[in-house]
């Protein structure tokens, strides 16, 4: 039996994403990309399970590599997004 719940979630999340992100001004397109990069580091939750469930040596090795990649994206992605956003200021705002 095909479980359609996942498809619902995917379609609705995509729709919400579309609605929200079309309103992001071009000014912030680079931070947007850096932020989605960090968020896509959420594959960490999949990698953690693979690395930690001790199925086989191959699974553990590939899992640890996956955790490393995803974690690098999470840490690096959030830091760089914040670093960028910190630079954007209006004329009337003090530095």
């Amino acid at each position: 039996m095909l479980d359609l719940t996942q498809i619902y979630v995917f379609v609705l999340a995509g729709f919400v994403g579309y609605q929200v992100i079309t309103r992001v001004p071009p000014l912030l397109h680079t931070p947007l990309m850096a932020a989605t990069n960090a968020i896509s580091g959420i594959s960490l939750v999949g990698s953690l399970v693979v690395a930690g469930s001790g199925n086989s040596r191959l699974a553990t090795v590939l899992g640890v590599v996956a955790v490393t990649c995803a974690m690098a994206n999470v840490v690096g992605g959030f830091l760089i997004t914040d670093r960028m956003l910190k630079m954007f200021r209006r004329a009337d705002q003090p530095k």
């Binding site: 968020i39 955790v67 914040d82 209006r90």
Partner: protein, 463 residues
């Protein structure tokens, strides 16, 4: 409350926080706080995952988390803003690699343990590995082109499109085969290998100036791969985060392709910039170029009422954003007004110029998008073009035979005077002559942008 419920609740919280974070990016003054909320969401999700009963070995998990943080910290803190496009391409590679590896492990585990795979799950794993693998190598090539260790010129050879189509067709056949019989692990490895190859071949023919589209597309693919992972391992948070990421990349791809006057289908199938060097029917013989000295340019700018700066990739290459601000400060000190006109595809990624100008401490309310600034050029006393070319080429408006005809451009030529900072008379990426450089109201200032602007600052101070 069982542990599973706690895990699921952290996932729910993370999903909501991610959406709030993206929403906050619609307002520059709220954005930072929003991203901090996303960080909290991520932390919750990781803690929730570590509570899962499947995880029995924390040692290796810890090793991965520590190495990842050690790699991630410099990627976040020390990469200069000018290197942002390659930095982003690089992390698309990381994200896609994580998804691909999870897919490979899930597949081998299901087959080796004799657990088997439903059609649905095989389909999800197939998408995961296909999208993931082609994004890994595609992003790597994009990274190489942006970093400069792979030629930024389009690489083409005869039969390229046909060859790519055959490879792509083979990958699809392998995918369908696996859906019918998931136990064929050889077919699985062949499919993965094909996807890795397709990623390389898809990006190799694409030139530097088309990178904004490629990067956006890879952003989208990396998201879709993450979403497919969620389908495969039945994880709702992954599905949601991947869908958000996919939607974002998709929107940016559309924005970028519109700004280059290319159809979206053209973008999706990577048929852009295939390198058959565009030839304009027009020649430049007999046209003259007027040069201006730094002294004259300084005078012109010092007494200008409204000056519009038009930055392009040349500004990024020469890292001249701080000098641009110094010139702007001097104009403003003399009572003039300064604005910045940003073309959507100026630079090598979406929003590239905005970040560089923000880094130089230029207030974002002085940065204008294409539609907002174009009516203003008429009343500008001077437009200063810094290392931009195709995005200010009036041929896009007037010359139907031009390859860029129809592309929205910045109407720089309508300003009372135009000063173009440029290294040489070489054509832009598209290889098209630019009439702007020969116009009566245009003066050229040859040389490296940073050096020229530094001299300009000195001259203006002396005026």
């Amino acid at each position: 409350m069982s542990r599973d419920v706690v895990t699921e609740l952290t996932y729910l919280a993370a999903s909501v926080l991610f959406i709030i974070a993206l929403r906050s990016l619609t307002k520059p003054d709220k954005a930072r706080r929003g991203i901090q909320q996303a960080m909290v969401g991520m932390l919750l999700a990781v803690i929730g995952t570590l509570l899962k009963q499947e995880i029995i070995d924390y040692q290796w998990v810890g090793v991965g988390l520590v190495i990842g943080s050690v790699i991630g910290y410099p990627l976040g803190m020390f990469v200069p803003m000018t290197a942002m496009p390659q930095r982003i391409a690089f992390s698309h590679m990381f994200g896609a690699l994580a998804a691909t590896l999870v897919g490979i492990v899930e597949y081998t585990h299901a087959i080796d343990s004799g657990e088997g795979l439903t059609e649905f799950r095989m389909g999800a794993l197939g998408f995961e590995v296909l999208f993931g693998a082609l994004t890994v190598t595609g992003s790597f090539i994009a990274f190489g082109k942006l970093q400069g260790f792979i030629t930024g010129r389009p690489v083409t050879y005869p039969g390229q499109n046909l060859g790519n189509a055959v490879l792509f067709g083979s990958a699809v056949v392998a995918f369908v085969w696996l859906m019918i019989d998931p136990t064929q692990s050889t077919v699985f490895w062949v499919m993965a290998a094909l996807a890795f190859m397709i990623g390389v071949l898809l990006v190799v023919p694409i030139g530097g100036a088309d990178m904004p589209v490629v990067i956006s597309l890879m952003n989208s693919y990396a998201g879709l791969a993450a979403s497919a992972t969620g389908f495969a391992i039945d994880n709702t948070l992954l599905i949601i985060a991947g869908a958000l990421d996919g939607a974002s990349g998709f929107i940016l791809s559309i924005v970028m392709s519109k700004a280059m006057n290319r159809s979206f289908a053209n973008v999706l199938f990577g048929a852009f910039g295939t390198g058959s060097a565009p030839t304009s029917s027009r020649t430049v013989e007999g046209l003259t170029v007027k040069e201006v000295t730094v002294e004259d340019a300084a005078l012109r700018l010092a007494y200008a009422g409204l000056v519009i700066f038009v930055p392009g990739y040349g500004m990024a290459v020469s890292q001249a954003q701080h000098q641009v601000r110094e010139v702007a400060d001097l104009i403003e000190a003399n009572g003039g007004e300064v604005r910045y006109a940003i073309h959507p595809v100026a630079g090598r990624m979406p929003g590239h110029m905005n970040v560089l100008l923000a880094e130089a401490n230029i207030a974002y309310d002085k940065l204008y998008d294409l539609e907002d600034i174009n009516p203003t050029f008429e009343r500008a006393d001077a437009a200063v073009v810094i290392g931009a070319n195709d995005v200010v080429n009036p041929a896009a408006r007037t010359d139907e035979s031009s390859p860029i005809y129809g592309m929205p451009i910045l109407d720089v030529d309508r300003a009372k005077s135009v000063i173009v900072l440029k290294r040489s008379m070489a054509t832009g990426f598209a290889g098209i002559e630019n009439d702007l450089f020969h116009a009566d109201n245009t003066w050229m200032l040859f040389g490296d942008a940073k050096t020229t602007l530094t001299k300009l600052v000195a001259e203006m101070k002396a005026v």
